[in-house]
Symmetry: C2
Subunit: 581 residues, 2 copies
Amino acid sequence: MAEYTLLNQINSPKDVKKLNASERKELAEEMRQAIINRVSKIGGHLGPNLGTVELTIALHTVFDSPKDKIVFDVSHQCYPHKLLTGRQRGFLTQEGFEEISGYTNPQESEHDMFIVGHTSTSVSLAAGLAKARDMQGQKFNVIALIGDGSLSGGEAFEGLDNAGDFKSNFIVIINDNEMSIAENYGGLYGNLAELRKNHGQAKSNYFTALGYDYVYVENGNDAEELISVLQKVKESTHPVVVHVHTLKGKGYKPAEENKEMFHWTVPFDVKTAQPTVDFGAKGYGEYVADYLEEQAKKNDKLAVINAATPGALALQEFRARHREKYFDVGIAEEHAIAFTSAMAKGGMQPIALFFGGFVQRAYDQLSQDLCLNKSPAVLVIENTGISGMDATHLGVFDIPLMSNIPNLVYMAPASVDELYRMLDWAMAQKDFPVAVRTPAVKPQELKFKPQKPIVLNEFEMTKKGSKVVLIGLGSMLKLAEDTADILAQKGIDATIVNPRFMTGLDENLLNSLIGEHDTIVTLEDGVLDGGFGEKIARFYGPTGVKVYSFGADKEFPDRVPADELYRRYCLTAEQIANKIL
Amino acid sequence: MAEYTLLNQINSPKDVKKLNASERKELAEEMRQAIINRVSKIGGHLGPNLGTVELTIALHTVFDSPKDKIVFDVSHQCYPHKLLTGRQRGFLTQEGFEEISGYTNPQESEHDMFIVGHTSTSVSLAAGLAKARDMQGQKFNVIALIGDGSLSGGEAFEGLDNAGDFKSNFIVIINDNEMSIAENYGGLYGNLAELRKNHGQAKSNYFTALGYDYVYVENGNDAEELISVLQKVKESTHPVVVHVHTLKGKGYKPAEENKEMFHWTVPFDVKTAQPTVDFGAKGYGEYVADYLEEQAKKNDKLAVINAATPGALALQEFRARHREKYFDVGIAEEHAIAFTSAMAKGGMQPIALFFGGFVQRAYDQLSQDLCLNKSPAVLVIENTGISGMDATHLGVFDIPLMSNIPNLVYMAPASVDELYRMLDWAMAQKDFPVAVRTPAVKPQELKFKPQKPIVLNEFEMTKKGSKVVLIGLGSMLKLAEDTADILAQKGIDATIVNPRFMTGLDENLLNSLIGEHDTIVTLEDGVLDGGFGEKIARFYGPTGVKVYSFGADKEFPDRVPADELYRRYCLTAEQIANKIL
């Protein structure tokens, strides 16, 4: 059992300022213990947080939060900050784990500026705070802490570029831990490597090219060196980049050695470094990876693209086996879509994979670079639908986002079998971009065996009944079946439809339902607003047929368990059957 | 009358290669005449195209299009290319003006790689072509031509960053004409200025920092210098940036002198450089600018943000009068939204203005940086709705894009009077981000006088009737009124509703309509899919009340006149009345 002698005395950053050098060293060790404690028990970002313990101590020693404002990029590196701003309980007790999230949130603490969970936003957000400060004649420091792969995102560049000609204090700290979420690709990371190698010198310097003063901190895990540098830049009246070289995973050997695995990790045994959760049967990610593996064997035009998330998308084995067909473009979703579109135009058969909550980072590229150009690329949007994730990582907005773009075919499979059919169909055609979404549920729960071949915008009636139609989109087909079972007990023989497509209606089938049915029920695991059910409601609008749409509310629930959300949204078979009856 | 002796002999790039230096000079003059001819008669991008005449001649002299692939960023600089690839008619005759668009389009010519009209995409698209080439063992050059402000967009950085470590031929040509659409802001343009000043030398070089070889061309309007440089980089086996210094507007004095005005211009008299179209009465942009002017007088917290489009948004006078309150962040919509959100959090009252088709470049920032954080910023989305614009510049996707994001309040005013009420209401509250859209129609046609004060999600019934309800969103309230007039002649006294809000339904009002009405008609000037009418259809879905939704189809019409689109979409009073009857 670790002791937290010093950590327990830190009620706010004020207490950090009282420490001497040897106490700071001791505090750092205690903080590492606390971070490992939390992450080993509930999972989370380990490597980047272990790497920035001293940096955070230095920040809270030199600056005066919340008067001085520190903006944490993507929050990968905010755990040490939480430990020093009165939120130790988030790392020590089960209740605390639940109460304190893994991301910054002003509702949690006045020391957090924004709710942040997507990368590459910190410089822009800090720039807005700095400009508001200057316009109001206020005096304080604004600091953006960015790194750990976030610099490859376009918004980070846009922010750096714009703030590069500010005429006042603006501090950007680059946490350079030599690794992105997966690996750093691209030119900028070569520049960082050159700067590291030559103690901050390079033929060209990305940051000074953008107008920043530049300071290099060789040992970013030495609080004393950091404090001395930060004290200097505190008084700067010009934008400055402090390039801090840290060790990702510092203090926990397995995390130092396997940076990718411990970037974000499931719960693990601290002694053995092995996961303590049973992953059980295969997830959708693995099934998609199997598909890619099969394709790689027979399709020499295959190219697999992702934006820095091989772990979350189960692509690591594919990467190891097929380096030449695998492209991780870094955290750069916009580029990923345009690059994929052009690959298809160039004669390849690209499949680009995205985590559900992140594809929205490239809406304009979906619309313009991909769909307007009708490039026959294939996208797989994984981990969509209702889940218990953080408000920043929800997968329920993809249907309104994607299904209302012209030329795109967007499909929702009701099982792995159907997923494979859809992917085969997508790969076999050359007419338009096709995207397929996979849900955040266990594939083993979805046993649907598709009968009807895939034909554009044709729905499949899986059971013919009367009076009530249950249209279950993708994984919700199972819920339609369960609801039908309950209705059957009450003497209602419901028709069940698997729509398969979200981007076009099967008007023949929908029209044929009129007459024998007076009630249509739509079920989807996404927000209702702008989603699939509304398209069905509009279709039947002029007919007088009654349509009931069930799906998620338009909201940002934060770590609300999925089963609670299903109940909240009236998405259980009992609730739906009751509504119908 | 200009003579096009040489230009008329150019049927394809092959013919360009036959010319000698003096003929190239002559050809350049003829091309300038042709460009001025087109733009003076139908409007378009003048300055950037005049500046890149020699560059394009050099490209088609050295490279072998379409085997070699040239990707034009945002197409601002594609007119000379069109002139050299068999599309002279697009610059010489009225039929040609209509046939040939101002943007690249593979349907027009095999020499065009993509349909492009949004900025900052060329490097990513070219990267995909280059990678597809390498994977298939093909041999040709891939060239991205970017510049004229596009480098500040995040996607351009993402592409440069990723392609910076390619190991094969990849040529990026920077057309540095010293100006963005408005002015270049930000750090990178400082670096370009330093490089220009020192003949390609600088303390740091943005491009070499990203891993590129770098060549500077001082006189980018000298075809011979360009040809010699391009011949060298043609054989390069490493990514290379050719930084070409051109004169925006070259060859037409007024465009050289007023770069912003002639970046994109309406038709003008070549002799006087004055517009030849009568702008007539004020547009929505001017009315919004008046509002900003009033605010600036009384509100010391006001900050006005835009992304490089002061001309299109009528912000030039505001900029001149209120430099300290005005922020043009460059072509960087993602940063613009995050910056705006943070300004609001920092105590200012920011109003950010976007051109309708461009706000989609920042969906993730709308969702995460702005709405999840509930920053009380105000957005004005201008030039939305159905128009006759290019497929790349449509304003009909904003409703599905924005109205399905939690926490955002999105409003559509039915007239300037109502626009002002909405803006006042938005500025007076501190609870959520509010966006207001203005339509691409003449404000003078919309005379609606609002009676009911703005209250969140309350619709206004402007006329009480029976049987039929016409819900006209924003500018479509007028169409609802016109339709009601026709219906009145047929003995139907329709109810008219102005919904005002797109992000929340007035359930009390909608419920109160049931009983006395059996038909609800929704009218919107945006795509129906994911839009406003579908929300109404879903609301009434369970009631049996009939709902007819009218709006735009999900498609990318390209320069189809607005009135033709209105008819295509059944959006004339006669068509709607007939449907109802």
